[in-house]
Symmetry: C2
Subunit: 240 residues, 2 copies
């Protein structure tokens, strides 16, 4: 028969395993979404409508994972009654889960724009902007997930800063696409689809930045969402 201490130890080990479990599930989902994103950009550039369809169909797997993770978080809260840093981890998982799922939605939207673009004339832009910004936000997503896996605050701060860069790239890409539209109004339809795809990429950058902010909150126990400027944010982060 177990002594009381052994029993407690046992419970606490099981609890840790459960916490690791939801963390790993979330990282697995993140990896899947990262693949969806890269595949969606590649399918758009290659005008591969078959692959784009598959990406859209696979989105429901991500949705299933999101619901399962939320359920397990509820179960852990109800059964283990976590407090302090354990509770903060569970809250972070719930929040990051939403952002990862919405990145999955945006990847599916990019795949949809890819199908529309494949039906249009060849674009005058050769999708240079989509490829560049696509690869940039995919890196941000990867880094934000790594930061979560290793609770690496420096990496998370890097992601938040990179989002400003992506916003700048996005603004400049949009201006150049407007110029193309004005030069030849027959391209308006195709270029609009490119704009929607870029918009989705810009949103993915925002979500990756949200994930990074949740990681910073988890590590520091301080809410860094909604800092009014990056300076104010960096002040808080460096103020330790």
């Amino acid at each position: 028969m177990l002594r009381q201490d052994d029993h407690k130890q046992h419970i606490s080990e099981r609890f840790n395993t459960e916490l690791e479990g939801i963390k790993n599930q979330l990282l697995e989902m993140g990896g899947k979404v990262e693949k969806q994103l890269n595949a969606a950009v590649a399918a758009l550039v290659a005008r591969d409508t078959g692959e784009a369809e598959e990406i859209i169909n696979r989105d429901h797997e991500v949705n299933q994972m999101e619901m399962r993770i939320d359920d397990e978080c509820s179960t852990i809260i109800a059964r283990r009654q976590p407090t302090a840093s354990d509770l903060r981890l569970v809250m972070t998982v719930i929040k990051v889960n939403t952002d990862v799922e919405r990145i999955g939605d945006e990847a599916a939207k990019i795949a949809r724009q890819g199908i529309r673009l494949a039906e249009e004339n060849v674009s005058p832009t050769n999708y240079i902007e989509i490829r560049r910004i696509g690869s940039h936000v995919a890196t941000m997503l990867r880094k934000s997930l790594d930061a979560f896996a290793r609770l690496d605050m420096e990496l998370a701060v890097e992601v938040v800063q990179e989002d400003t860069e992506v916003d700048r790239e996005y603004g400049s890409a949009m201006r150049s696409l407007v110029t193309f539209m004005m030069e030849d109004p027959r391209d308006i339809g195709a270029i609009l689809n490119e704009m929607w795809a870029l918009r989705s990429l810009e949103r993915i950058g925002d979500h990756a930045s949200n994930i990074a902010e949740h990681v910073i909150y988890l590590v520091r126990g301080q809410d860094v969402r909604h800092q009014r400027s990056i300076e104010e944010f960096m002040d808080k982060v460096s103020d330790q």
Copy 2:
């Protein structure tokens, strides 16, 4: 001195008050966001850049409310260790909180497009689409919050169904704006800003629909997110 039963009763009353408290705070935040949305559409239509600036500045109040509500949810989980339907309510508040805050972000984006539009030539469209879809999604938001306040599942189901209608209106508005662009490429800049504002309205419809789904989950204890079709969804909802 309190008897044990009185003491328990007392704790449980305080707990209920706390639960009502976060629910009311969330509804208050929802009311504020609803005002922001209506004001943003009105400012855009009236080309009132001063009002648009104020809307953008007020967004941080919504962000503060979001963080406070999340904090209070954490505190309640840690101190009261809710289970079953109480826990489900807290989880719903956490999820709805994110959607309401993001509607606030979209309202601020609409105000920003309003400022850009005021700097352009008068639009050929007279903002008919923005006014119509704006009023539609504002109604959806109001209904989704009412559904949450009264735990009214029928109203929530109505909101989810209306989102399909908004998506249709949005698609038809976009097609008509593309026609305007092609007719006179000098209007491309202004019309693009209208398109971004419409996109924000369409997202607000999505978020209102998310809120309604969370309410249905709360009432039925069943996750209705990510149903693959409205029919499948209605089947589940009517299957009681």
